[in-house]
Amino acid sequence: MLELRKDIFADERDDNLKEIGKGTQRQDMLGHVTGTSIYFNDHRLQGMLHLQVLRSPHPHARIRRIDTAEAERSPGVRRIIRGADVPRNLNTLLSLINFGKDDEPTLAVDKVRYKGEPVAAVVADSQREAFEAAAKVRVDYEPLPTVFDVEDALKAGAPIVNETYPKNTFTYHDIYDHQKLRFGDVERGFASADHVLEQRYQMSPIEHAPTETNGSIAAPDTNGRYVVYTSTQALFFSLDTCAKILDLPSNTFHFIGGTVGGGFGGKVDTLTEPLAILGAMLTGRPVRYIFGREEEMKFGPPRGAERIYLKDGMMRDGRIVARKVRAYFDSGAYTRLSSYAVVKCVAHLPGPYTIPNVYGDVYCVFTNRTPATAMRGFGVTAMDFAIECQMDKLAHLVGMDPMEFRLLNAYRDGDMKAHRREAKNTALIECVQVAAEKAKWPLREEFKRMSSRKDGGGARAAIPATAMDTKGPARPATQQRTPYDRAPQPAAGTEPPRPTPPPPVSPAPQPASHGAIRFSSVFGSRRR
């Protein structure tokens, strides 16, 4: 059941609109409910062939030899495609916006880096014949040592997953193996804190589970062009990726999509289009390449697992004074989009709270598993799980109501965020208040009266003097410290907290900026 709370922020809106705000029926409703909406796989083209890839059985192995002789003679086979047939076999998705190095082949050539990596593709008259021929391709593998744990991958002597990134980490700004966030001085914050809580959180990989699996159909069109029906979530992203891999001008391709059976982030990677088009180019026939459910689930990219270490310093009245984050994003064998999720995650720290000292180191790590990709809440979902579980533990430690604890620490209009931009248009406080009302969760009067539009800014708008990677002072003897391997237990004799928004612990003049010209591997040389 949905209730529109028009009474809140009413002075910021004009509600006298004719079409906006109406529950108009969807434009595509009739097609969807009668099963007549056209998806990519509804196109049945004359003479259409079927493409099936052969996938690696090993998570990490050198390829000594690929023998396709028997497969070539298999019934119905039109063409077998190998890495050497792909015009530009190495690519990385975000090269379209100059972020990262080409690190992933369309078809593996010298090495496979995850179980299920495509090694060769068979184009045949029927799906069954393509499957049968793929089984007849003989690949001579030399298995290599593997690494599956993100922290193991960072250790000296760990197997190198992806030679483009020999330290098993994505490179930020050409120099760092992680993206940093530095705001204030967390060590000073921890030193002054009454409680320090360190906890570890772990998310597991998750499947997008769309109704419609990834796929596309490519067909030769008139005048040397190719028409491509696709399930992509990003039409031009996929088109431009194909233009690069196939080394052809982008207007060679006519991409048609737009109606997709669920994406959730799993249809950005352009997994099928390059090979479908290449198959059509090599055979002169329409070619369909669609993932089966098992392929989608095991070798389609999942939501990546993230491991997060959170360390918070808190005063006994419930004010959080420092938050330090170390996180590892498991990218699998190739970059795809996890490199970007790291940046998004850093910007999200420390969650929707005003904390005067924040520190983050977030890594994009390569392991021998199916490459991860975007998924709903990309870069943020696991961090929100960690932060919000941590918030509950912190409230418990000081004996505060978890709702009131969030209201106390909530960010407000005018506060400075850790990525050094002013918070505007905030509404966390109102969401907590309304959710409490809905759930009949009692809040004290002073917490009910709080507003995102009041008591922000001022001292909370300052950018604190920021410590750049130095050791902090020793902690006081009275501090209650809960390390990573212990569960938090509330301290005895906590004081009732007051709902005053926390002033920053170390308001100080802003340090000099880091020079007028900065170089970034993300964006190149730029003047501020």
């Binding site: 949905l2 209730e3 705000g21 120099i175 979530q233 689930m297 919000e388």
Partner: protein, 340 residues
């Protein structure tokens, strides 16, 4: 052995759009000679309702009924460039591009109407029902259909518009992480109530109460569809789903929906939702976007509710019965916390 109830909360915010390489989307709007408008996009409708939301934005901006607008997407030969449907950017970025294109088209439409009515275009207004009339004088009116015919066959005007919305790229400071990651943020708070069986470790969802702030609910029914579905994805992530049940050990991965667990119809519970609207200064009619973030608060709210019910913290997702049961055993039995 018993079943224990518990409640947990989580509150979150979420950035709208992406901060990497600039974030543009384009739209084209044009009228046919009957006064029916087409919006040409290359954006994708994943089922979330992209076509419907942009259709409403176009109709509102033009001042015509929604039935007179059709959204055509996604064809790379006819639809102008869009980054794609991800990063909660559809409503905000594409919506803004459609709004800009519709504004331009409306300008031509009003000029054409002014010529027919022999008045100044600034003296005209639309009634939202397919007519343009002189302000304060509804009888001096012309239908958008007649304006479109006149523009095409008499005046030689094209009632069309181009729109682009670009959030320019923002450099990221390598030392401090200083950046402009997004122009606006959506917000949410979720209260989850669970029942935990201390004999089996199973967690049942009993109830969800939530508040979501989305800027502007352009279409409340589409918003409801997103929030209800998204919350269930959150529950599924919290309690059921993973492709690697013993991560980082990669073995025992599921192959299909028989082995990959998700909640079924018997697992759902009531979900009472409040929607708040604090318009974003740069959103189309103030809209932000509900798509991604609605799943996020559910996972921690469920984890916190489990703690409230039986006193165990499971810090690894998904929170399977095995993990709950092991944690309960490790602490020597359920320790229900104060009811709330």
């Amino acid at each position: 052995m018993a079943r224990h109830r518990g409640r947990g909360i989580a509150s979150i915010n979420y950035p709208i759009g992406m901060n990497l390489g600039g974030d543009p989307s384009q739209a084209l709007v044009h009228s046919n000679p009957s006064g029916k408008f087409t919006v040409a996009l290359s954006s994708i409708d994943l089922g979330q309702g992209m076509k419907s939301v942009t259709r409403q934005i176009c109709a509102e901006t033009l001042g015509v009924p929604v039935e007179d607008v059709y959204v055509d997407t996604a064809d790379s030969d006819t639809g102008p460039h869009c980054m794609g449907s991800f990063a909660s950017r559809g409503t905000h970025r594409v919506g803004n591009a459609v709004m800009a294109a519709a504004k331009e088209a409306r300008g031509v439409m009003m000029e054409a109407a002014a010529e027919e009515l022999e008045v100044n275009a600034t003296d005209l207004e639309t009634d939202g029902r397919g007519n343009i009339h002189v302000k304060g004088a509804p009888h001096r009116s012309i239908s958008t259909k007649d304006v479109a015919i006149a523009a095409q066959f008499k005046q030689g005007k094209t009632i069309s518009g181009r729109g682009i919305f670009l959030v320019p790229l923002s450099a990221v400071d390598p030392e401090t992480g200083e950046m402009s990651p997004a122009t606006c943020y959506a917000h949410a708070c979720m209260v989850a109530e669970v029942e935990v069986d201390d004999e089996t470790g199973e967690v049942a969802m009993m109830r969800m109460d939530s508040a979501y702030e989305l800027g502007r609910a352009l279409n409340p029914r589409l918003v409801e569809q997103q929030l209800v579905g998204g919350a269930w994805m959150g529950v599924s992530h919290a309690l059921y789903e993973t492709t690697e049940p013993y991560y980082p050990d990669p073995r025992h991965g599921p192959r299909d929906f028989v082995e990959y667990l998700m909640p079924g119809p018997g697992d759902i519970c009531p979900h009472d939702i409040a929607v708040l609207e604090r318009p974003a200064a740069d959103g189309p009619f103030g809209a932000k976007g509900p798509g991604e973030m609605c799943a996020n608060p559910v996972m921690p709210a469920v984890a916190n509710a489990i703690f409230n019910a039986v006193g165990v913290r499971v810090d690894e997702l998904p929170i399977t019965p095995e993990k709950v049961l092991r944690a309960i055993k490790a602490q020597g039995g359920a320790r229900p916390q104060a009811r709330r």
